[in-house]
Structure formats: structure tokens, C-alpha cells
Amino acid sequence: MSGAVNGVTAHRDATSVAPDPGAGPPVLSLRDLVVEFATPAGVVRAVNGMTYDVFGGETLGVVGETGSGKSVSVLAALGLISTPNLRRVTGEVLLGDVDLLTLPTAELRRRLGRDVAMVFQDAISALNPVRRVGDQIAEALRVHDRTLSSTAARARVVELLGLVGVPHPVTRHDQYPHQFSGGMCQRVMIAMAIANRPKVLIADEPTTALDVSVQAQILNLLRVARQETGAGIVLITHDLGVVAETADRVGVTYGGRIVESGDVTRIFTRPRHPYTAALLGALPRLDSASDRLLPIPGQPPDPSELPTGCAFAPRCPISRGRAVCTEARPEPVPDGSGASACHFPDEAASLLTAQADDPPVDQDDPGEPDNDPAPVLDVHDAVARFPVRSGVFARACAWVHAVDGVSLRVPAGRTLGLVGESGCGKTTLARLVLRLVEPTGGRILVDGDDVGKAGRSQLRRIRRRAQMVFQDPYASLNPRLSVGDNVAEPLRLQGLSRGQRRGQVADLFSRVGLRVEHADRLPSEFSGGQRQRVAIARALACAPGLLILDEPVSALDVSVQAQVLNLLADLQRETAMAYLFVSHDLAVIRQVADEVAVMYLGRIVESGSVRRVYDDPRHPYTRALLASVPVPDPVGRADRQRVPLGGDVPSPVNPPSGCRFRTRCPIATDRCAAEEPPLRPVAGGYTACHFAEETVGLAPEVPA
């Protein structure tokens, strides 16, 4: 691409400053955008004065929680909201000097995909399932260039597929989306978006549904796309780590507008809005374990009743009830490289340092167990296989090895973190413990009782002692029962009377931080975080000795996630429950776990104490995984050279011979294909790698 653009990019990378006058006018500007929806509850103002600029060749990270208006604003700006209850979109969306909001649809479409292109979340469903992938990319070209012949379009599409790293582009061109993995679909989306070399590329949560190793590949690819096209990128995400890794400038959204903007380093080191500072405090860190997260109290604002003053005032740690915060909406005040919409921006910065200095809240570490107590959960060589049926008579012709010989122990009062990418079998393992999935082999003991051999009534007793909290609190609560009845369900099964149940529900509600008077409300009246509290209360109803937490905070926003994680920590301290905590999020696991087990394709490849696994990882997979996680610290990101793991996780139907990781392993040898490495003691933990002693000598990241 043009040298000028690359020059600007390089310059910005070096100094990381805000809008560079040399960059010329912004390629896309949102000016005071307001988006309103009509709902039965009244008018909902989802976007409330969103204003930002994007310049050519830069990446603007727009970061915020669910409902903060970050996605709705761009969708409304590009006329991509088609719900009939869209009430009004006002303000200006300037693409060059044209206001997109004033254009008729046909005119607007002529610019979409050509001047401004989008990359969506969940690429698999963003591609048309019944049309060939190549044709879908070609359509982006041909719709803006009617003269392009189909052979020329095909050649260009193959070239684009190669550019975005899709192997065998000629073959892949004629395949359908369902034949692609999630990461590959996202590459296709990016190819489609950069096909016309747009001026602006808007990526809306482009990596949210992807595994960390694939996420790292996609983020790299977006960087390549920027270099290739010179486009200005708007990267919309909820993930502060992603922003810190990739953005030049950042806009933080809250209550439908940008509350703080500025250079990425400045935002992360000296935030000038208390929300930004609070968000950073609430974030579990991969690089340094904190004793306790600092959650933001309360819930994100309800866009149907935004307060007159500052939207953050009710949760703000520095407002301290000052009248101006609740009465006057703070307007963004430019300061140097950015702006802060806070009445007291200088106090916000001190918040971050104050937090750091805070003595850790009394963390009586349960301490190392003096002697190895009998574990609450003892899994020995568990196996779960599912048949793959095909052919005329639907006979099982192959087996998915979901869990393939896994052993682990969780003592009382301790947390075992089970971490791995999607499809590694971690959720199946969690379900095996309660026999929600029938085990194919192995032995699972809960408090010494064999789950696999238990009869009906014994299994019911075991399930009372081991409870589960699921990922999606929207789906795991019965929507027709009040939250109180949802929580009381296990008590009802135990035969408690109505009065006893009410008393216990009230007690459970107060333990998980819910208000007792809300017990009669339906789940739909609660936010995700509150629902997860309800689900936790239900799990606690039987006073279990073991809690199985299957991605319990993955559906929650950072500020709420911290509340739930702290709640779980408090409950464990009170009751000495054992936790089996399943997550794909390495930072969350580091925060909550005492011991960690890393799973890959149905097997544990490394386990040990948190310190051992995170600070001295010996398995190349653990090392690569840790290197792939975006760190929410832009300082020194240029020095962090990361080479993400290539490719996708192989199919568990036919796992590779020998070491299952060898197909993606940078140090694999012939021995790895022939001989399966056992999980053996290495450096105070356990690692299943033939070369576990040698990995420590490797560079922290795998060299290119």
C-alpha cells in the first residue's frame, strides 16, 4: 500500500499519540449520535451522544460493557438496524464530508463495503450458509464494480483468501461456511471487509467467540489488514486486554456515550475517568495475581431511565454524593490527547494508585493443607466417548474422545481451575462429575461415593452434595418460576415445608447479595450478574461440599464478573466448599484457583499449583496459551513478541497419534508422533511432554 500511510502507521506505533495533524481529517466521525428504541417499558436511549473520530491508519479501540451503546452506535450509523422499534437516529455520521444519516438507503449501500466495511462477531452465523464462501467475498467486489468479470473476481478472491491466511484458497473458495472453523470464518469476514480497500474498517467484537490462540491470530490479521489497506480501524470490544494489545487510541463507553478517550498508554496508566479506573481494578490479571478484585458496585445503568446527571454517579467511587455529579451531565473536556467526561477528572487517576496501595482485604489463605486430606472430588482415569453416527443405519462409525483418561483431585476448601480451549472436553468432564453425561470408563468419587456405580437414590444424594452452576444464567433458570422458587426447588425436593423454604431462601438470598424482597420476581427482571447470583444461591441450597462451576462468569461483564468472583471466594472461605472451576479464561482461573489443570483434546497436559503453571509453564501448549492472552497493559507491548499458535484444535474424533498437541507444537519431533507422553512430575507440577525439562530454556515466546 501507499508508503505515506505506512509511514503514518509506523510513526504512530513509535510514539502512540493522539490524532496526528499529519494524518489529515478523520476518515469517520460520529457526532453526538443518539439512538432510541421504543419498547413497552418506554423509550430506551441506547446511544446518548456518542462522539468520536477515526483517522486513517490508526486503530481506535471502543471499549465498554454490554449495553453501553458501543455496537448499536455503529450499526445505527451505517443503517444496519432493521428492528421495527428503532425510533430515531440523530446526530451526524461523517464519512469524509458526507453525512451518512442523510443518505437514502440506496446511496448509503453504495458506500457500505466500499468506503466503510464491517467485521462482525460470530463469523459463522455472519456468513450465508447456503452460498459458497468465495462467492460471498466476490459479491462484495462485484456489487461495487459491475464491470468486474467473474473470472477476475475469482482470481482476486483467491488472492484475498491467501492474504488472510486461509490455506488452500483455491479449494476453499468453493466450500461453504459450515466447512470452516470459527477462526477461518472470521478470516473470510476480514477478506470480505478489506476486498475493496475501505477507508474505515469497523470490527465489532471480532474475536469474542474465538479461543485465545485463534483470537491472537485474528488480531494479528487485523493489523495486517490495516497495513494492507491503510484503513482506520474501529475495534469494538468488551475486552480491555484486546484494546491494550492493539489500539492506538481508546474510547471508553458508558451509558451510551464515550466517557473517556485518549492515547492507549495514558488510558491504562493514568485514567481520567473513575469508570475507566474502576474497570481496570475489576479486571482479573494474567500477569499478576491480585488477592481480591475490586468490583464496581451496582449494575450498569438501565438505558430506559438514564439519570440526569452523570450516568456513572450511582456507582462512582469518587462522586461521594456530590450534588454536581447527580445534577449536571459532565461534558467531555479535552485534555491533551483525549477527553474525559467527568467533573473531577484529576481524582480518577488517583483512584488507580489508591487501589494498588490498598492493603489486600483479609485474605486468610486457607494455607497449604498440612496433610493431604481426603479429596471431596476424586476423578480417576475418567473417559467419556460419544458415538459419531452415519451411514444408512446410523451406526456408530467413529467416537468423539471428549474426555480421555483424566485424573484429578479437589480437596475441601480448595479450587481446581480447569482451563482449555473450546472442544477440549472441559465441560464434558464437569458434567461427568454429576453423571449428567454417562461415563465410558474410569472412576469418579464424590466424598468417597462412586458416582458411576451409584443407583438412582444414591445418585440423587450425591447430586445434593455436588451442585453445578452453569455458564448461561439466562438459560439455566426456569423463566416461569420466580427467582425465589428457582432457589427453593432443591429444598422442595428435600421435602421442606413452604415456611421452612421461605426462611432458607431469605437466608440464601442475603448470602449471595440479593435482596430478599425480590424473591417473588421473575428471572427476566434481573440482569445477568444478578441471575448468576440466583443460580449460585440455588446451588448453595443443599449446602453442597462441592461446587462445579462451568464457565460461571463468561457471560458477564467485567465489573459484574468481579462481583461474582469475589462472592465465590467469600462463600468458599465461609463453608470450605471445594470448587471445580471450568473456564476458558486464563486470567479468571489465575484469580480463583489454587491448582490448575490445562486440558487439550480430552487430556490434561499440565497441572500444578497456580504459581507453577502460570510462572513456570513447561508444556508448550500452556506456554503458547499464556502467550496468546492479551494483557491489559499497553506499556511495552511492542516488546512482547508473540507468535500465536497456528491452526485450529484438531478434531477429537480422530486425535493425532502420540502427543495430541504435536500437530501445533513448535518443538515436536518424531518421538512425539510415536510415543504418547505421560503426565509426569516436572518442577513441582505435572507435565505431559517429552521435553518438559527443555522448554524452560526456550525463549519466553516461541521464536518465529
Binding site: S82, P84, G113, H178, M189, M192, V392
Partner: protein, 315 residues
């Protein structure tokens, strides 16, 4: 794909066999003795026995079924109890008429259903959309035979635009005549079936329009018309194809009531008459043919599904 189709084909054979047993068994379970019907109540026992022997009614039930199905496989469905004509030739006399009526009704159904379904899905709150939704409700609620009578009274009896009773006029011999003879029964059928089809189309299209890939197509800059034509309709047509296949099966099986109302010489009227006359051989053969046609169309729908949806074709 291959395994899928082979499995469907096997299912087809099994269901057809089971269907043949049911068809055969049902007529057997019906009250009334065909010999008595043929000869009248005054016939002597000897005459009755002779007729039963001629019709093969004196064999055991299993024996009757086996000989019937054995012949059926070779294309011989026996002879009509009444006319003595082979059932197959009776059926084949009527099939062209039924196919023509079914074709007309289907074309009309689609001509109404597709635009109505699309409009209702895309502009549910517009005036036109609301009116068409009213049509859909009315079309479902109005009984077909009543609508047929109404059409006859208004268009044939009062206005004398079209013939009241429809004869079969082959399309290739006299297109205009065929049209005028078939249009009324076809319209009476199509009002109902188009309401069903349009509803299905509207629901699935409405759902598809909210999908992420529609947003992607718009974000690429595809004009709205092409978004609907190239991206939405093919996805939305999948459930609709099932309904259309079922309807077509129903049409070919003979639209008994409508053919009776319009006195149309199709399969439906043939069966209607045969049932009244207890002509078991004809009823059995006719219903077997209807069942087979229906199953075959279902099989075709499955094949068509695979053509439309690569997720079925390629797994």
C-alpha cells in the same frame, strides 16, 4: 448426502409397504359386503357365493393381501368390482385430469403465496401488509367447498363467465378451454393452500431477515432487493419447500371434496364414487396410488432440500 438419500429411500419402501397393509386393512374393516352391494339385498346365497369367489373374497385375509400386493407390484391392481375394468386403467384415465388440476392449483398457490408471503414478512405494519395478513387469516378459515360453491354461484351461475361444472380439457389440445374449465376448482383450492404457504414463507423469511448474514450482506453494500433475492429467499424457502411438497402430494391424491363440488373427473371423484359403491378393488388401488405418490413427493422434497442446503448435501 449419499447415505442420507439411501436411508430415505429405504424408509420410503418400508413406509409404502406398511401403508399398503393399512390401505388394504381399512377397506376390509369397512362395514358392508361388496357382493351384497353388487347383487342387491334379494340375492340368493348361491349367487353371493359365486360373486365372492369371482372377486376372490372367499380366500383368507392374508392370502387376499398377498395376492393383491403381489399383483400390485407387477402393476396389476385387480379389476373394478363394478365395471370389470382393470383398476389400473380406471386410475390412468383419471390421472391426467388430476395432474392438470394439481398443476393449476399449485401454480396459482405459488403465484399468490410468494408475493403475499414476502410482503407480509417485509412490511408487516404497512397497510398492504395488514390487508394481506387479513387475507391469510380468511383464506385459512374459509372452507374450500364453501368457497367453491360461492365461486360457482357468482362466476358461473350469476355472471356466466365460466362453466359451473368442469370437464377435463387437456391443456395441450385446448389451452384456453383447459384454463376456463380448471380455473375455478384450482382457485378454490389455491385460496386455502396459498394462505398456508404464505404463512410459512412469511414466518421463515421474517426470521431469516433478522439473521446475522443478512446484516453482513447489507454491510457489503448489496442493494436491498438483492439481499432478499440472493440471500434471504433461498434460506427462507427451506421450510416452505416441505409445505409445498406436502400440498402437492395432497393435490395429486385427489382433492376429493372440490372434485365432487365441481363434478370434475379426477382421481378424487373416482375414489369418492368407488367408496359409495364399495368397489374395494378400486378404492384399494386408488388409495395405494395416492399413498405412493405422496411418499414419492416427500422423497423428492428431501432431494430438493439437499440441493438447496449444502449443510445437508455435504454431510
Amino acid at each position: 448426502m449419499y447415505g442420507h438419500l439411501v436411508r430415505r429411500l429405504l424408509q420410503f419402501v418400508v413406509v409404502l409397504l406398511l401403508g399398503s397393509v393399512a390401505v388394504w386393512g381399512f377397506t376390509f374393516a369397512l362395514p358392508g359386503d361388496p357382493a351384497t352391494v353388487l347383487l342387491g339385498a334379494d340375492a340368493s346365497a348361491a349367487e353371493l357365493a359365486a360373486v365372492r369367489a369371482r372377486l376372490g373374497l372367499d380366500e383368507s385375509i392374508v392370502g387376499q393381501y398377498l395376492s393383491w400386493i403381489g399383483h400390485a407390484v407387477t402393476g396389476d391392481l385387480g379389476a373394478s368390482y363394478y365395471s370389470g375394468q382393470p383398476v389400473v386403467s380406471d386410475l390412468f384415465d383419471r390421472i391426467p385430469a388430476t395432474v392438470q388440476l394439481a398443476g393449476f392449483a399449485m401454480v396459482l398457490t405459488l403465484l399468490i403465496a410468494v408475493p403475499v408471503g414476502i410482503t407480509v414478512a417485509l412490511r408487516p405494519y404497512s397497510v398492504v401488509g395488514r390487508v394481506l395478513q387479513g387475507y391469510l387469516t380468511a383464506g385459512l378459515a374459509v372452507p374450500t367447498f364453501w368457497l367453491g360453491l360461492l365461486l360457482i354461484i357468482v362466476l358461473a351461475v350469476r355472471l356466466r363467465w365460466l362453466p359451473a361444472s368442469s370437464d377435463y380439457v387437456p391443456l395441450w389440445e385446448n389451452p384456453a378451454g383447459a384454463l376456463s374449465a380448471t380455473i375455478l376448482p384450482a382457485a378454490a383450492i389455491a385460496v386455502h393452500t396459498s394462505s398456508v404457504t404464505a404463512r410459512f414463507l412469511a414466518t421463515s423469511l421474517g426470521e431469516v431477515m433478522g439473521k446475522d448474514y443478512i446484516r453482513t450482506a447489507r454491510a457489503k453494500g448489496v442493494p436491498e432487493r438483492d439481499v432478499i433475492r440472493r440471500h434471504a429467499l433461498r434460506n427462507a424457502s427451506l421450510p416452505t419447500v416441505t409445505v409445498v411438497g406436502l400440498q402437492l402430494g395432497g393435490f395429486l391424491g385427489g382433492t376429493v371434496v372440490i372434485e365432487a363440488v365441481f363434478n370434475y373427473p379426477g382421481l378424487g371423484r373416482l375414489l369418492y364414487t368407488a367408496i359409495g359403491e364399495r368397489d374395494y378393488a378400486l378404492v384399494q388401488g386408488g388409495v395405494l396410488f395416492v399413498v405412493a405418490t405422496f411418499l414419492l413427493l416427500n422423497l423428492l422434497v428431501d432431494v430438493f432440500y439437499a440441493v438447496l442446503d449444502p449443510r445437508i448435501r455435504l454431510t
